[in-house]
Symmetry: C2
Subunit: 491 residues, 2 copies
């Protein structure tokens, strides 16, 4: 049979590792790789009472509440609670602005219930909340028709990257997408699936991970024989690199994309996570509009989600992408695309609206909201500074300032013997480091090779999320491990 070819003999099964869609075989998402699996085994071993030099596994992933560093924002949870169980709308323990928000949402829903389907692009009232947020943030009005709600940021990335692809899947006519290195590996993972051509450009580690125009040009030029470059992905604030781009840097990037005819895909999910003094978040949309009429036809896609910031509602899977400069007929294709799922999940939708429109001064919930937000932001800011200082205090580690997002991406100057030992074990040197760290301390950091790095350099990604009181102890363990590791492999 045609679909059983190529196997060793005829398999009785139809879908085998030989015959499954090759796109599925290309997928690789490094953050959930072997180290993640090993950390799960260690968790089970701990639960079974096995003795270890640590009592818990700490996963350095962007999961603010999961790492126990962050309590949920009360307003968010109260709104979702009453939406779920409207009997409590009579309960006096819930503030009036919570009830108002819930009634507004239910009034737009068929049957007055959260359970009914919404329009495919998402509830109008939520898209209006988002549009108002964008208008205020940027000082340029936004319309709800440009906003498409999704099940989290990951779905938005898939939908937009897929739209950028061409019919050519193999030859030089296939779509190319510029991605930063280091990157959030969902971009390369998804491009592998889609058979898009990856055009890696390196962030400048010596300039706190800003983008350099010469490097962008080099990367683009070298890609030309292999693909049709279509877009540039910019992650600001940076994941895994923790930088916040300057206004001027973003302006240069927009000019570059304009000159080179590239769509700009702005991943701005960490826009509320800014810590370093003198840093501010500038949306690509604002910088673009500031450039004026000449850039009227520029195409920009902006991404946001409910999982980060002081809200940190990861598993609700709220997110949106917003289109600037796309014609109505193209928008209708995006709209059609969304209809195939009926609608994004309603909790994620509502959460995204709350992230964009939290309580305001004068609202019943404002004082508590402000207190909670301030405490979280203060703690994150403290840990950002502490993490940078701690890492730089270790011999053989160099770390840029954590200006935003939730991560540091330090460079480790690994001894030659460690590099050789890794080679002997069939590992990348940074994986060896991360693996030994996990076994010694229970701390799971992502090796730099998962996010990409310049050849001959080695990094890892660590979050600033764990709560302050745990951080101190974790740093002690880390320091001991690092010193032991360097000694073990010294020349």
């Amino acid at each position: 049979m045609a679909d059983a070819e190529g196997g060793s003999g005829v398999s009785a099964k139809i879908i085998t590792s030989e015959t499954i869609n090759p796109a599925y075989k290309r997928i690789k998402y490094g953050l959930r790789g072997p180290l993640d699996q090993r950390s799960q085994v260690i968790e089970e071993e701990l639960a079974q009472g096995q003795a270890k030099p640590f009592t818990e596994v700490v996963k350095h992933i962007g999961d603010p509440q999961g790492l126990q560093g962050q309590k949920p924002i009360t307003f968010m949870r109260q709104v979702l609670c009453l939406l779920t169980y409207p009997d409590l709308l009579q309960d006096e323990r819930f503030p009036s602005d919570v009830k108002k928000r819930v009634r507004e949402i239910l009034s737009e829903k068929n049957g007055g219930t959260i359970s009914s389907y919404t329009s495919s692009q998402g509830l109008k009232i939520v898209r209006q909340q988002i549009a108002d947020f964008i208008s205020t943030r940027d000082g340029y009005p936004e319309d709800l028709s440009n906003i498409y709600l999704t099940n989290g940021g990951g779905e938005a990335i898939r939908i937009v990257l897929k739209a950028l692809m061409t019919a050519d899947q193999e030859g030089p006519g296939r779509a190319g997408v510029m991605i930063p290195i280091p990157e959030y590996p969902l971009y390369s993972g998804r491009l592998l699936e889609l058979n898009g051509y990856q055009i890696p450009y390196f962030l400048n580690e010596d300039d706190n991970w800003q983008l350099e125009m010469g490097e962008l040009q080099r990367a683009l030029n070298s890609s030309r024989p292999h693909c049709v470059p279509r877009a540039l992905v910019l992650i600001n604030p940076g994941n895994p690199t923790g930088q916040v781009l300057t206004y001027e840097n973003i302006r240069e990037v927009i000019k570059f994309c304009h000159r080179e005819r590239l769509v700009l895909f702005a991943d701005e999910v960490y826009q509320d996570n800014i810590y370093a003094d003198g840093c501010a978040f500038h949306s690509c949309r604002k910088v673009l509009h500031d450039l004026g009429e000449e850039y009227r036809d520029f195409q920009l896609v902006s991404l946001h989600c409910s999982a980060k910031s002081h809200f940190g509602e990861c598993a609700l899977r709220g997110g949106y992408y917003q289109l600037t400069g796309f014609d109505e007929d193209v928008k209708s294709f995006f709209h059609n695309r969304m209809t195939l799922y009926s609608c994004p999940n309603i909790y994620g939708q509502v959460a995204m609206g709350i992230v964009c429109q939290p309580p305001k001064p004068g609202d019943d919930s404002y004082a508590l909201y402000d207190k909670e937000r301030t405490a979280i932001q203060k703690s994150m800011k403290e840990k950002a500074g502490m993490t940078t200082r701690f890492l730089n205090s270790l011999a053989g580690i160099q770390c840029n300032t954590v200006q935003g997002a939730m991560y540091a991406f330090p460079r480790v100057l690994l001894p030659d013997k460690a590099i050789q030992a890794a080679k002997d074990q069939g590992l990348t040197p940074d994986s060896l480091y991360a693996s030994e760290l996990l076994e010694a301390t229970g701390q799971f950091v992502a090796p730099g090779s998962v996010m990409g790095q310049k050849e001959g350099t080695y990094h890892f990604r660590i979050t600033i999320i764990p709560p302050l009181e745990k951080t101190v102890h974790q740093y002690e363990q880390f320091k001991r491990f690092h010193e032991d590791f360097m000694k073990k492999y010294e020349g």
Copy 2:
């Protein structure tokens, strides 16, 4: 520039209707087509106070709570409520089994909060609930490693259909999938996007929409020159056709797939919606296992979701697909595929677990749950019978018995003049009928051409969901419309 070719002149934009991924242009989801858009306009006109011969738009889509026919099941909402806002775990108004369920789920979550990411395949505790449900339902044990939670049934359909595709996207090596006609149009819509080859097989309207082996064979044989047939989609109970397949019929289909080397994709989302006396739901998985050892290598994918049955939680987007007969290496590709989204939304996950493991006799919530479920099921059963009888009472309409699911799919014997009038307006005859019905009564039914039908026959899909007290009035309106329509176009 290479990516601006083919347009009329050079567009300043990069992503235009000429250059967007052609896959997005192929997408077509008939249920959210022009009639749906017109119904939204009518709703706005009503809201603005425009006079119409009706006071509300009734959308005949599978949205049980949205159509006000169905109140949510209290247990479901109480669990979701306490998960969201665990302060209420101290509240005496909530039953002990609700609290127990909530504590069980939170204990499996990092940080003890619903917000943290779960494993990509979904929470273990939820997959265990589903595995236990399947084991009990079928009498054959199931393992949680075969269960993959998704954001609703639509996502499961996409993931599985995509896995079935081959590398060949255009030629005779592309994957073929047998789909029923009439069908739930997400199947054809998704196959259009994926460039899969559709192999339509006709359900037998004269035998209450059962599957005929001769017709399956005819459809398959005729497809052979054009594709590599990979799978057969079976929807049971049927959407839009409302039939419940007999045990014997399912057995024949499995034997057919086995002989012809096809994966069976069993869409069983309406498995709890059974009304007609003498009908029972038989899962494909049980029938397969009953066939014994000879079918050990048979590959089956089974689909379920939280949106239907007496729960009807549509916008929570809970769903799963379950794999039977897939090797570990193939399962790992499915697993990798899920990692690209981090995890499915947590409310959908929990809801799916509750659908599979509702309160049991002896539980605090059982009495109320049983009362609510029985009332909904009784009402649906009554409306199923009523709808069949009503439709058959109209001259020129023939309707099979609504045995299950939520729909009737009656045939309308349209007068020649109506067929001609439709042609003159560039509409299919069934769209003309549905369009005039919408304008006259506010009732939005899906024209048969959206779901597919034998050439020269005309149908529409109507739900049995609206509440009983409204149904009577709606039928009167409908009857008046139908008689007027037939008179208007009589020969």
